[in-house]
């Protein structure tokens, strides 16, 4: 009985009128947790009832505390008929389970009804008394902190990065159960909301367990997704990076550097925090008291005969979960198979463990969901690795099905891993997974960036490094090191044009670099970056089952190829040479596939200048044609010149060789793509015949090509005063002011013309995206100069003739005048020293973690079983396809570069100094006081509602995050049967999104926070039936609730910003 949950219902306000006769409401409240329900008294005839209830106490297991939400239902008492529900509030009490997060939840929550939306508000107080529980066989993982943020959260220091954690749980979707035919839409929606809330809780708990097993205390870059598989069920899955985090004292939180400086001079210390020299680095004193002592955990993996719940093997922990939650509908047989898999895995695992334990390569999945890292962590970046696979869904209540889902992901991850290996890399960073489902077809995608991480920190006992690692003779400069090729020059995995690094001249770099991570803050860039998108539509025939899946998987490689060509062209058109934050989304619909690739283009100073684009005609004799070509060529050249100016790309010297990488010719394509199943084959099959060509050549041989070029040139430039990127920070802009506007915009386009061509579709889709961007710029024009950061596009094909595009991003103002004039040298040197000292970032590669991750052996039995099953239920998997951007880069003439070093240096300096300002804390590029005086630092003084800022970024400019209050992960359904009356589809969705924002803000405020960082809308499923006047929408959002203070303010400020209650505890915790 390790926890006591207490809830108190204080009051309500703005309640709807439930009794038409009196225009009033007789409201009372039911408070439910698990199977226990309490009721308040009825507060008669009031729209602003004061209940002031007693404390309702629930005595529960901490396991339940993690899984279950507190459910508050407001009802209207009716003497003669059934009581009418006004609405509900679900409160996730997870933040209260971690001693470092919130200590009380208190505030006004919107009362939400899935049919009517928000109907008034209710004031609630929730507390948890948690008893220490040293039971090491427990199923809960209270105290493990979760962060959506994909970097090390500010105000924490990482003591150890343990690695990849993943989990998935499956269930039947209540919407598709037989009972749904007889219950009301409201009941069905509520069942769904509740189930997903439960499943997320369960998932989080299980991930937490894995983290504890690995010896960590936190999950960073936690990414949870839902797959609404319709008839076949509901999958909730999550990935993340397990870490051991130390909380920085609030003084040190201001600047990590100052914290580290005094103690870290000797490099030998580098792996461990100065505060705990010689101690086991895995656990820190900051670990919540509820988690057990470190030793048992460390010991665990060696005793693999320990009870199943604690076995590190993945199947086992899943199995245990299915038995301990009555809600999970996984049939009992699943347990058996899972268990057996675990047993069989045992000996194999030990064997494996004995063989190799230390190197990162030996982990099952050396993946990291992080996208930005402490300086020095990232040594080299190889390029983007991605894998896709097309699957046919089958009903989940097949006994082995949950394992099947797992096996699917397992395959994809293996493929990613092998791609990374092919690139000479031992790790994948910026890793993410996604799905696209249409009817019974599901595309699973995973992508990341192959990388080499600092070898010094891959060691087991990283403490005793004699700094004797000479694998890399001299540390590469931080501003270019990551660009250097990780693979062997003589034995390149794919053709690429290598040159000596333009920055340090010592190592080779590729001509173009694509990554899924954020631009490392210490990287040297020239000019500003910009958003680059490739968009593509492909029609496909309507089909069923396996035929359909085959058709899709045949289309995929072509789409990827085209998207890459587009990206490459657009990159060159902007005279840039690297992409960061690359995200390629492929969405499947009944009769088409949509592809959208977004990334932030940058000119990396270390990489060679991109060559131009040359147009070539197929028929040289035709004079008019030649004329035409010349005209296009001129336009392209003009555009490139214009863009150079626009993005201030003035590289030190425009090198004598106008080199670029030619694209492979069409005939070559087919070969390339046939090979997608086996990555190694693919490499050997590449035709390098284009190595001789000088520039990026586009051949105009048909209308297609003309169309392509046309679309290339019609991308409207961002209006003056605007910048845009899809990464956390905008390369080239470092002096943010505090103006902030997070927004979500959704558009649905109906294609009425039935016989569209691919070309026509492409045009429509491109226009849709472009117009959406234009609208955003227009809307936000009052913020100029500003930058749209983290522009995150999501595309979907909700119905046959609909295309849906959703964008969430944040507009941030910056100070234009200051952009280029930051004092350089100081920052530069500081940045340098940081690198040396901050590399306290041991990757945990100790035996136990390796074993925990070494699942291939454990997996084999399960895998086989699932294959048997899938032979019954056809599963297609031809489509997995490796996509390495650099694959298409052709060899450059390896000309000798004579570079005037002086000029290189100048440009480098300006860049790095500005950047190091941002890197040092990234939130306060402005001198104090400055940020204050600037516009949009609004004083919301008069309002009684706490102002909650929201941003998809991990920071708020001009502020310091002093405390993380816990993860926000909310799922809502809204449905209407009076669509017209609610203002049509737009009115309906508009109010729903506004309601979701309101509920997120209310929860954050109740936790005592004043902002959500790393906010994202992960799901927005919209369905309509205008004929029936109906619509339904599902939205899933997540983020980290935080308390921030302005850089200029003193510690105590959160108390003032908050209307009340919890702020004290907040500041206490921070100090």
């Amino acid at each position: 009985m390790p926890g006591k949950l207490k809830a108190k219902i204080v009051a309500g306000r703005h309640l709807p009128v439930m009794d038409r006769a009196s225009d009033l409401t007789d409201a009372f409240v039911e408070v439910k947790f698990g199977n226990t329900t309490f009721k308040t008294d009825v507060c008669p005839k009031s729209l602003n009832p004061q209940w002031n209830s007693e404390w309702f106490k629930f005595e529960v297991d901490d396991e339940d505390l993690q899984d279950e939400p507190l459910q508050i239902t407001v009802l209207d008492h009716d003497t003669y008929s059934a009581n009418d529900a006004i609405g509900k509030v679900y409160i996730d009490i997870d933040p209260l389970l971690c001693s470092e997060a919130a200590s009380v939840i208190s505030g006004w929550f919107p009362i939400y009804d899935t049919i009517h939306g928000i109907r008034g508000e209710i004031n609630v107080l929730v507390k948890v008394d948690l008893f220490n529980d040293l039971n090491r066989f427990r199923q809960s993982s209270c105290g493990v902190k979760f962060f959506c943020t994909t970097s090390i959260p500010r105000c924490y220091r990482v003591a150890m990065v343990h690695g990849f954690v993943e989990e998935l749980v499956v269930n039947e979707d209540p919407e598709y159960q037989w009972i749904d035919r007889i219950r009301t839409p409201r009941a069905s929606n509520e069942a769904r909301q509740r189930l997903i809330s439960l499943m997320s809780g369960e998932l989080q708990r299980k991930i937490g367990l894995k983290v504890l097993e690995m010896g960590g205390n936190a999950v960073v870059g936690y990414l949870q997704c839902f797959d609404l598989e319709g008839e076949s069920g509901l999958v909730v899955r999550a990935i993340g990076t397990a870490c051991t985090l130390d909380k920085l004292s609030s003084g040190a939180a201001a600047s990590i550097n100052t914290h580290m400086h005094p103690n870290t001079a000797p490099a030998s210390n580098a792996c461990n925090s100065p505060s705990k020299d010689g101690k086991e680095p895995v656990f820190t004193e900051d670990l919540p008291s509820s988690s057990g002592p470190p030793t048992p955990f460390r010991a665990l993996p060696t005793t693999s005969s320990s009870p199943p719940p604690f076995s590190p093997s993945k199947p086992c922990s899943r199995q245990s979960s299915s038995s301990d939650t009555d809600l999970s509908l996984t049939p009992k047989t699943g347990m058996g198979s899972g268990g057996s898999a675990g047993k069989e895995a045992g000996p194999l695992k030990t064997l494996l463990r004995q063989q190799t334990q230390t190197a990162l390569e030996q982990r099952e999945f050396p993946f990291f969901t992080l996208t930005s890292f402490p300086p020095g962590f990232l040594v080299h970046v190889g390029g983007v690795v991605s894998a896709r696979s097309v699957k046919l869904l089958d009903r989940i209540h097949n006994p082995d099905e949950p394992e099947t889902r797992d096996a699917w992901w397992e395959e994809i991850r293996q493929e990613i891993k092998s791609h990374a290996k092919a690139l000479g890399c031992h790790a994948v960073v910026g890793y993410s997974e996604s799905t696209s489902i249409c009817e019974e077809v599901c595309i699973l995608s995973a992508s990341g960036t192959a990388a080499i991480l600092n070898p010094r920190y891959m060691r087991d006992g990283c403490l005793d490094i004699g700094s004797s690692d000479h694998r890399f003779e001299e540390p590469s400069p931080p501003s270019c090191g990551f660009c250097h090729i990780p693979y062997d020059e003589l034995n390149m995995p794919f053709p690429a044009q290598l040159t000596y690094c333009y920055h340090c001249r010592r190592q080779k770099v590729p001509d173009v670099l694509f990554t899924t991570i954020d631009l490392p803050p210490e990287a040297a860039v020239t000019g500003q970056g910009c958003l680059i998108q490739a968009r593509l539509c492909r029609l496909k025939k309507k089909a069923q089952g396996e035929v359909n899946a085959t058709a899709i998987s045949n289309l995929l490689p072509f789409m990827e190829y085209e998207l890459h060509t587009q990206l490459m062209n657009k990159l060159k058109l902007r005279s840039m040479n690297a992409l960061f934050g690359l995200r390629i989304q492929i969405s499947v619909g009944e009769n088409m596939l949509l592809g959208l690739a977004s990334a932030t283009g940058v000119y990396l100073t270390a990489l060679p200048a991109p060559g131009g684009i040359q147009i070539a005609g197929k028929t040289p004799g035709d004079l008019s044609n030649e004329h035409h070509i010349l005209a296009i060529q001129k336009r392209i050249n003009d555009t490139i010149a214009k863009n150079k100016e626009l993005y201030q790309i003035n590289p030190p010297e425009l090198t004598e060789e106008a080199v670029g990488s030619p694209i492979p010719e069409p005939r070559q394509r087919s070969r390339l793509f046939r090979s997608h199943s086996e990555s190694s084959d693919e490499l050997s099959e590449l035709d390098l015949s284009h190595g001789k060509k000088d520039a990026f050549v586009l051949e105009i041989d048909d209308t297609d090509a003309v169309e392509d070029i046309h679309s290339l040139l019609t991308d409207a430039p961002t209006p003056t005063g605007f910048y845009s990127c899809n990464t956390e920070i905008m390369p080239g802009i470092y002096n943010w002011t505090s103006g902030l506007q997070m927004f979500t915009s959704v558009r649905v386009f109906r294609l009425s013309n039935a016989n569209l061509t691919n070309q026509g579709l492409n045009k429509i889709f491109t226009d849709l995206c472009e117009n959406l961007l234009k609208s955003l710029y227009f809307k936000l024009r009052s913020m100029i100069p500003c930058c749209l950061c983290h522009l995150n596009f999501t595309v979907a094909v909700p119905e046959e003739e609909l295309i849906q595009v959703a964008v969430t991003a944040v507009a941030m103002t910056f100070d234009k005048d200051q952009s280029q004039e930051k004092p350089g040298d100081r920052a530069m040197t500081k940045g340098g020293s940081e690198n040396e000292e901050q590399l306290q970032f041991p990757l945990e590669l100790c035996a136990e973690s390796t074993s925990a991750n070494n699942q291939p052996s454990a997996k084999i039995p399960g895998l086989q079983e699932s294959t048997n099953v899938s032979s019954r239920a056809p599963s297609v998997d031809y489509g997995s396809f490796a996509d390495r951007c650099s694959t298409w880069l052709e060899l450059l003439r390896l000309k000798a570069h004579t570079i005037r070093r002086g000029s290189v240096k100048t440009s480098r300096r300006t860049q790095s100094l500005a950047r190091s300002v941002s890197s040092s804390e990234r939130c306060s590029p402005l001198p104090e006081g400055r940020s204050r005086s600037l516009r949009s630092t609004r004083s919301f003084g008069g309002s009684s509602v706490t102002v909650v800022k929201m941003t998809p970024l991990s920071f708020l400019p001009g502020t310091r995050i002093v405390k993380y209050l816990g993860i926000i992960n909310m799922f809502f359904i809204r449905e209407t049967t009076s669509l017209r009356e609610e203002g049509g589809v737009s009115g309906f969705l508009h109010s729903f999104i506004a309601e979701v924002f309101a509920m997120v803000r209310a929860h954050v405020a109740a936790l005592g926070g004043n902002a959500v960082v790393s906010y994202s809308m992960k799901e927005c499923v919209f369905m309509e039936n205008p004929n029936k006047n109906q619509a339904q929408c599902l939205i899933n959002v997540s983020g980290d609730a935080v308390i921030f203070v302005r850089d200029t303010d003193q510690e105590a400020t959160p108390a003032q910003m908050n209307t009340g209650q919890t702020c004290n505890s907040g500041t206490d915790g921070a100090t």
């Binding site: 306000r13 703005h14 006004w108 919107p110 928000i118 508000e121 209006p719 003056t720 506007q741 997070m742 927004f743 979500t744 915009s745 959704v746 558009r747 649905v748 386009f749 109906r750 294609l751 009425s752 013309n753 429509i764 117009n771 234009k774 609208s775 955003l776 710029y777 227009f778 809307k779 936000l780 024009r781 609909l802 849906q804 609004r938 004083s939 919301f940 003084g941 008069g942 309002s943 009684s944 509602v945 102002v947 909650v948 800022k949 929201m950 203002g983 589809v985 737009s986 009115g987 969705l989 508009h990 109010s991 999104i993 506004a994 309601e995 924002f997 309101a998 803000r1001 209310a1002 919209f1022």
Partner: protein, 359 residues
């Protein structure tokens, strides 16, 4: 091929003041787009008409969603649905409750009933204010009227607190409520030349001096600022002595004439008309006990006093000097005992006439 759904939702609700005004003025989305295009927004932002349409629709939707909250502006501050900075909230409220003087002039003093609302299309046609805007303004009047009707305490303060309006706007609403409550006649042809601001000023005078609340001893009476002080109206009858007593009338006249002689070109007309004018003003006072005559207060002032003076071509200065002496001289009359009532009456009438005496 069409955009089926198009929404933009900001964490801080984005509102364009220009679009808000167009919405308040009752323009359709398409009209609003036209107006904005002519205003040149597009040029400064390199946008297209589609963008403008999308933005306008979006803003209109936002306003429609906010409208419900604006019915009781206090809610706007503690609702959770829209995060709107306080200064924006104030702007939203102030503009929502703002009205067109031409429109209010048409309904001033009318009963705020369904019947009046039905006639709004005529008003709209006459004033050029869109019907939608007329309805909003009319509903605002009605809403404010209903709320303050049931409240105790000073009218202006109540309006300001309940609707979070600026002082100026609260006073205007107080005037509207006051006129609607007492059903003053303002629509007659002879009153057409008077603006709403003229009436609002007069209403302020009446509220501050002639109502129950004006006396000041009891601050917490219902309708204290809306209903005229019955006792006072009764006492006004006593003033009749100024015209019924021949001696008093003559004495008053000679006092005034002595003071005015040589000071104005219109002296002859003043002297000749003194008895008529004095009778007019005192009779108005004496009749105010009848509700019907209260309603005709302004028309009476115009007919019995302002029009004769105007036909004699008095200047505003003439009017000022005449009324000042007319008022003050009564204090010197030793047989006239009703100085307090006289002051309370003449103070208001004087300032009302000053305000109303223009072309």
């Amino acid at each position: 091929m069409s955009v089926e759904l198009d929404v933009f939702v900001g964490n801080t609700t984005i509102m364009d003041e220009e679009v808000y005004q167009l919405w308040l003025d009752g323009h359709t989305v398409n009209d609003a787009v036209k107006v904005r295009m002519e205003g040149g927004v597009l040029d400064e932002c390199e946008a297209s008409a589609d963008v403008l349409l999308s933005d306008t629709m979006d803003q209109y939707r936002t306003f429609q969603m906010c409208e419900r909250l604006l019915y009781s502006p206090a809610k706007l501050a503690n609702q959770l649905l829209f995060q709107i900075p306080p200064h924006r909230q104030a702007m939203l409220i102030e503009r929502y409750y703002a009205f067109d003087d031409v429109f209010v002039r048409e309904v001033l003093g009318k009963k705020l009933s369904k019947g009046t609302k039905k006639d709004l299309d005529d008003v709209s046609a006459k004033t050029g204010v869109t019907l939608k805007s007329c309805r909003r303004q009319f509903d605002n009047f009605k809403r404010v009227f209903k709320v303050v009707e049931e409240l105790k305490g000073p009218l202006v303060e109540n309006i300001r607190q309940h609707f979070l309006l600026s002082d100026k706007l609260a006073r205007d609403y107080a005037a509207i409520v006051f006129f609607a409550n007492n059903r003053f006649e303002t629509g007659k042809r002879k009153l057409q030349y008077l603006t709403f601001q003229d009436f609002a000023f007069c209403a302020g005078q009446l509220i501050n001096n002639w109502t129950v609340g004006a006396v000041g001893e009891n601050n917490m009476v219902e309708d204290m600022d809306v209903d005229l002080d019955k006792e006072f109206l009764q006492e006004l009858k006593e003033l009749k002595i100024l015209i019924t007593d021949k001696d008093l009338l003559d004495q008053h006249k000679s006092l005034v004439c002595t003071a005015l002689r040589g000071k104005t070109k219109a002296f002859n007309e003043m002297e000749a008309n003194f008895k008529n004018l004095s009778r007019g003003l005192v009779n108005i006072a004496a009749k105010l006990t009848n509700t019907k005559d209260v309603r005709d207060f302004f028309i009476d002032l115009v007919e019995k006093f302002i029009e004769p003076c105007r036909s004699d071509r008095w200047t505003a200065a003439d009017m000022r000097i005449y009324l000042t002496h007319y008022h003050n001289s009564a204090h010197i009359l030793d047989t006239f005992k009703h100085q307090v009532v006289w002051d309370r009456y003449m103070g208001v009438v004087k300032s009302c006439i000053f305000k109303m005496y223009h072309d």
